[in-house]
Symmetry: C2
Subunit: 324 residues, 2 copies
Amino acid sequence: MKDINDLQLLIDEEIRTQYRILEPRELYEPMWYALSSGGKRLRPVIVLMGCQLFSDDLKRAALPALGIEMFHNFTLLHDDIMDKAFMRRNLPTVHIKWDVNRAILSGDALAIQSNIFISSCDKEILPDVLRVFNTTALQVCEGQQYDLNFERLEEVSVSEYLNMIRLKTAVLIAGSLQIGALIGGADPHSASRVYELGDMIGMAFQLQDDYLDTFGNPVTFGKNIGGDILANKKTYLLIKARELANPEQVELLKHYYSSEDFDADEKIRSVKKVFHDLEIDKITIDRVHEYSNKALEILSDIPVALPRKVELDKFTRNLMDRIR
Amino acid sequence: MKDINDLQLLIDEEIRTQYRILEPRELYEPMWYALSSGGKRLRPVIVLMGCQLFSDDLKRAALPALGIEMFHNFTLLHDDIMDKAFMRRNLPTVHIKWDVNRAILSGDALAIQSNIFISSCDKEILPDVLRVFNTTALQVCEGQQYDLNFERLEEVSVSEYLNMIRLKTAVLIAGSLQIGALIGGADPHSASRVYELGDMIGMAFQLQDDYLDTFGNPVTFGKNIGGDILANKKTYLLIKARELANPEQVELLKHYYSSEDFDADEKIRSVKKVFHDLEIDKITIDRVHEYSNKALEILSDIPVALPRKVELDKFTRNLMDRIR
């Protein structure tokens, strides 16, 4: 069995194998710039873990896995335009390094190339794989639209927020795991259980991300702590806090979220204190554990030998450990 | 056999059948706004004509044909952002009616929905259909990038221009015809001949479009005559004129293409006179005839009964007749 590091190496090797700047360079350069800029390779690794649940032949999942990574990078290129993001993975975003047109068009090309790589799977499973992939892809767009809508809404409920992150983040992780499982030869029932497993992992992953952005360890998190607070982002933490806040805390949050014009440290400190007083950190940790535990439960049900499950088990427990 | 009007009706009916505004409305409204705004339905009709070459069962090509129309509209939404186009089919473009973010994201959703509809074809031909479609889709992006590059280039050669319009326009018409043929049951050899046929039709179509924009009849063309000249567009007409112009004509063209700051009528009249003096209209007509005649030649070779070819024959001859 291969562990996560092995799987990441397999993905990086596949990227090196496929890397080629075709003509016109203006189209292909930004594609590979985005793909080569690192990142955790979470989604393609998930594809391989899904495959490994049912088969040792991970090679045939490598190209579809790269396709999933390309699809993810396509969404990042376009989201970064919409969100006016300047930096990603410590590099300027594509629309900043080049321009918006290049980011739109090379994003489109990434999406199409992702279709090509995903369609490289066996003819027999192609219709099922495409059904999962295309459904997922459309949901990711829906999630991004809800996220854009939320920016302009005064109030977002917890259930609206959970629906948004399910669409924007969890379904792609679920779809990735299921596509891997289908390539590995999973029967239809197991494949759909695997999807639910991925869904739970995806929800835990996003809530963990929300948590770490505010309460994480600056050394291990890799991003600046408090970025979501400074950007007035409606995260699970804020939405839950608003739900539980007393009138005084409501006013305090309203004050700090009314503009971006505060001393950064003061704003982060004050908002974190409200979150802490309301035990939002604990509540979020509990939610992550809830989703992770459901994931572990489904994983234990999947009828394959234990060693095949080890990596997904470790990965899921790690989601909990990082925020314990 | 169904004629072009029947086929257009079939497409419009399919659009009405599939029309539904899902949630979030902000994503799906612009998709159907673009799709419902009319247009010639050229590409989906081409899919149906490709199918009709080999089969009477056009129903099973209807959804993939709509997929092709959706893909085309996806490229229009994004191209209109890049080209800063305000109007299309006498309506405001999506990024003007709503905003750039909506146009990017609903364009992405159109592309994904097009994949879903195209993948609805029979399992047996799905890998072939996807190979044609995805290859074509990537080439369309390449064509758009070359088109963007050309705006900033001083000199573009005739062969560079022909390569650009092949990628940006002809391959999608070729791919549409081939996908229709595959759905209709074409053998591999016929399917690839059909692609070449579509390629010739596509080239003739785009050069005809260049011609009509300058020399067309304002009543039947539907757009204002001279739009390409006013926008300083590097069309076949201009590139060929520059190639053949004497020093005086070179200066005149340089003068009028140095800015957009001229009296519109004067600029159109003066440039048209240079084109006319150089017989660019005649040269362009000859090119359209060349491509159309090659198309007719390939069509006559395709081993199916004559009645199946009637509509494509009429369509191709019509390309020539409109500019004779």
